[in-house]
């Protein structure tokens, strides 16, 4: 069986913890030999996913916990984010129309577009009433 290594970090669901989350994920990605550009992609994708969870699933409530789990095997570097908030299905997501949003002075909806572009695979499942988002980068 392939060797699997796991790292975990739990923080309060507050945007002030985003930089710690980014650094946690980036330092492990670096350790596994990803180049700077890929590390930057992973850093941003995780930031966007956590921002969505903090804002939309937990309404910026720092008493809620956000758990970030990294699993690494021979093929993939995977980041799992689990929350108990309102679900969001990446499959039903549509690319935002920037021109229209600017005209309507609307922002948002950009994070998922970035996650899908920056990572090799993004999956979303509901398990035991929990939303499980998994994002991965191939190691080769």
């Amino acid at each position: 069986m392939a060797k699997l290594e796991t790292y975990k970090k739990t923080v309060g669901a507050s945007t002030e913890n985003l930089s710690d989350i980014r650094d946690f994920v980036a330092s492990h990605a670096q350790k596994y030999g990803f180049d700077d550009n890929i590390v930057a992609d992973i850093r941003l994708a995780v930031d966007e996913a956590c921002t969505n969870i903090i804002k939309h699933a937990y309404s910026n409530d720092p008493k809620e916990n956000l758990e970030i789990t990294i699993e690494v095997d021979d093929e993939k570097f995977m980041i799992y984010l689990v929350d108990r908030g309102d679900g969001f299905d990446v499959k039903t997501y549509q690319k935002p129309d920037l021109k229209k949003q600017i005209e309507q002075k609307k922002r948002g909806g950009m994070g998922v577009h970035l996650m899908l572009n920056l990572m090799d695979e993004v999956t979303y499942q509901v398990k035991n009433n929990m939303n499980v988002l998994c994002m991965s980068k191939n190691r080769n």
């Binding site: 913890n17 941003l44 921002t51 903090i54 920037l98 600017i102």
Partner: protein
């Protein structure tokens, strides 16, 4: 927690905001306050210099989405300059280069503003 700083200066009669550090969903409100303050004071020729900005997330781009129409309807613009490659890549992925003036150097933005005024 990483730092984000924003400072304001004027150059050739234009407003310049210098960004430094990491701009994410936590620090974006500082940029929002600075832009709102300029707009409130009827300043609408604005350059945002990214020279010292190391990182941006979509919450930072969202601030520019929310205020560009206000500035343009006052006859001005927000021009973005001196981004590093990683920061530019985020703007590019979200389609900003066709809708915003993004320049390599602050001087180019100043010249473009002067042309537009002339």
């Amino acid at each position: 927690m990483k730092t984000f700083n924003i400072s304001h200066r004027t150059k050739s009669g234009l407003e310049v905001l210098d960004l430094q550090g990491e701009l994410d969903a936590h620090t974006a409100s500082q940029l929002e306050d600075a832009l709102k303050n300029l707009i409130h004071n009827n300043k609408s020729n604005i350059i945002v210099n990214f020279q010292e900005l190391d990182y941006i997330a979509s919450a930072g781009l969202g601030v520019f989405m929310a205020y560009i129409e206000d500035v343009r309807s006052n006859g001005g613009d927000i021009k973005l300059t001196n981004m590093n490659d990683k920061v530019y890549n985020v703007f590019d992925l979200l389609g900003f280069p066709t809708l915003y003036d993004i320049m390599q150097d602050e001087m180019q933005a100043i010249e473009k503003f002067l042309e537009e005024e002339g």
